[in-house]
């Protein structure tokens, strides 16, 4: 009998969509009881959102002053203490989950499974390695807690409409003071979040400058899209790092992904291969991006993108 604990990701105000995706993954385990834990300072609203996720049997809250901005060293001992009694502990394969979950696994004395993309059995999973160039089937030992991160681009969010019970847990563990939050600087844009967006417009090195990225922003704003980028564009300083899509950036699965001036290195492709439709605009007809795109257009982005922006909407 599997009992899965899903670690909720949130910003103190609202639940991140990654949580319902982790629940969707957990629900693939036959007959699993699924519970969500929300750690924070004051989490009633977030817990209520989590209780709506279909398939969740119970929401557990752990509220304390130290649980403000999520710090792995502070949250991990609480999660590890709560994990007793669960067969699985899942978190999202986002910056939050990737930071936290291995710390939990080590406290529990187990190895972690990173980036679950499919469930083959209660202890059997598939995950990508080598930037998605290979998929490996793995099996965790049956007598240990399975600690894992879920590759959220592989899952659609579990639906809502549920009303699970919410209960607070009292966890007594020593909280370290050696790690302190200083600040979080976020972009000031009103554009949709890259992870959650149904449409993403991404630009690459061919844009040539930070100023030229205006073309990308105009097109994105016209159709309500989030902004993505290639590593080359970030390294060149055209766009901030949180826009980077790929092996070492964000892995996303929007309905529509338009890659503009991105050649399509394997490390980039691995970040978009679950997108619904991939559109590529590139002046080089040999660019590898065309091998994975559903719709390709060869030509000069500096004339195509403004024309496309005018044509849409």
């Amino acid at each position: 009998m599997s009992k899965v604990l899903v670690i909720a990701e949130h910003d103190g105000e609202s639940l991140n969509a990654s949580t319902a995706k982790c629940v969707a993954c957990a629900a693939q385990i036959d007959g699993a009881d699924i519970e969500v834990v929300v750690l924070g300072t004051s989490v009633a609203g977030v817990a209520a959102e989590a209780a709506e996720i279909s398939g969740v049997g119970r929401v557990v809250t752990i509220e304390r002053e130290d649980n403000g901005p999520a710090i792995a060293a502070i949250l991990a001992p609480q999660v590890a203490a709560l994990a007793d009694g669960y067969s699985h502990v899942f978190g999202p394969s986002t910056a939050f989950g990737k930071d936290l979950m291995p710390r939990v696994a080590a406290l529990l004395g187990v190895n972690q499974i990173s980036d679950i993309m499919s469930v083959d059995g209660s202890h059997s999973f598939k995950r990508p390695i080598y930037a998605g160039n290979a998929i490996v089937s793995v099996e965790a030992p049956a007598d240990y807690t399975v600690v894992a991160t879920v590759r959220i681009a592989s899952y659609s969010a579990a639906s809502g409409g549920n009303s699970a019970a919410i209960e607070s847990a009292d966890i007594t563990v020593e909280i370290p003071t050696h790690t302190r939050f200083v600040e979080l600087q976020t972009g000031t844009s009103d554009r949709p979040d890259l992870q959650a967006a149904a449409r993403v417009i991404a630009g690459g090195r061919a844009l040539g400058s930070e100023e030229n990225f205006e073309l990308i922003y105009k097109l994105a704003d016209k159709i309500g899209a989030a902004i993505g980028s290639s590593r080359a564009a970030v390294d060149a300083g055209y766009v901030p790092p949180e826009t980077q899509v790929g092996q070492t950036g964000q892995i996303i699965a929007p309905d529509l992904y338009i890659a503009i001036g991105i050649s399509g290195a394997i490390q980039h492709i691995t970040g978009i291969k679950d997108a619904g439709t991939i559109v590529a605009i590139n002046k080089d007809e040999e660019a590898p991006i065309f091998e994975v795109s559903d719709i390709g257009l060869v030509g000069d982005l500096f004339s195509i993108v403004p024309e496309l922006t005018d044509a849409l909407g």
Binding site: A106, A134, T179, L256, G276, T277, I295, L297
Partner: protein
């Protein structure tokens, strides 16, 4: 601070397009170019810069794996590390065991700071630094893009999904590095010659008395399901029509 430890993992080179073996038992590594994991190179570069500006006195590079990892350690020594330690193990080693090995070396060496790559580009796990910090009971600052020191604390700016987060951590600590932290230096020929004389100690894994970790078995490897090449359109009108066809605009 006195001493910084840096992990160097030997991995298939970044530019190699990895193929799954025909019997699905793994990926083809015979005759394939091997290199230092690119994130680990950034970790070493940062350690060297910390030492060069006078904030540390020694940089020690460590690899855990086969004797062949000596190549990567020699490259690390040529970049400027002072010493190298190879913990020799026959088979590939899981993240928890690697974290336990690092902890054991930290205790031997009395290190103040451990800098690792945020992930290895072979297994893409992104686990070792966090596990080590947990076992050591010390701070972790993962995905670092800026690191500064003030006395016995460090300020680390991290790349997170919503932007840049800054943490203040007490030393000793574990930092894992992201791409934007620095650009690693190129190794020059005289440095390679000098590196041959630098100490490289080999310790058999068995000598460290590491508790065996529960293993996650790798059952089968497969190539990914590819996406099909779609249609090409000639102009913006064709693109808009194709998008409308799919109900996307």
């Amino acid at each position: 601070m006195e001493k910084i430890l840096v992990g160097l993992k030997r991995v298939v080179d970044y530019n190699v397009r990895v193929q799954v073996k025909s019997d699905r038992s793994g990926v083809e590594t015979d005759g394939v170019k091997m290199s230092i994991n690119p994130f680990d190179e950034i970790a070493l570069e940062e350690a060297l810069r910390i030492k060069e500006r006078g904030d540390a006195s020694e940089v020690v590079v460590i690899s855990i794996g086969s004797a062949e990892a000596q190549q990567q350690l020699r490259t690390g020594l040529a970049m400027g590390a002072d010493r190298a330690i190879l913990v020799e193990s026959g088979s590939s080693t899981d993240a928890l065991t690697v974290a336990r090995v690092f902890k054991s070396i930290i205790e031997r060496e009395n290190a103040d700071l451990v800098i690792l790559g945020k992930q290895a580009i072979d297994d893409d796990n992104s686990q070792t630094g966090q596990m080590l910090a947990a076992l050591w009971g010390r701070p972790q600052a993962t995905f670092a893009s800026e690191v500064t020191f003030e006395g016995s604390t460090a300020k680390v700016t991290r790349e997170v999904d919503s932007g840049m987060e800054t943490l203040e951590i007490d030393l000793p600590a574990v930092i894992t590095v992201d791409l934007r932290l620095n650009e690693p230096r190129y190794v020059k020929l005289p440095d390679i010659m000098k590196a041959k004389k630098k100490p490289l100690d080999t310790i058999p894994l068995a000598d460290l008395d590491i508790e065996p970790a529960p293993q996650i078995k790798e059952i089968e490897f497969k190539p990914p399901e590819g996406r099909q090449r779609g249609i090409m359109v000639n102009d913006v009108a064709g693109l808009v029509a194709a998008l409308k066809d799919k109900g996307l605009v």
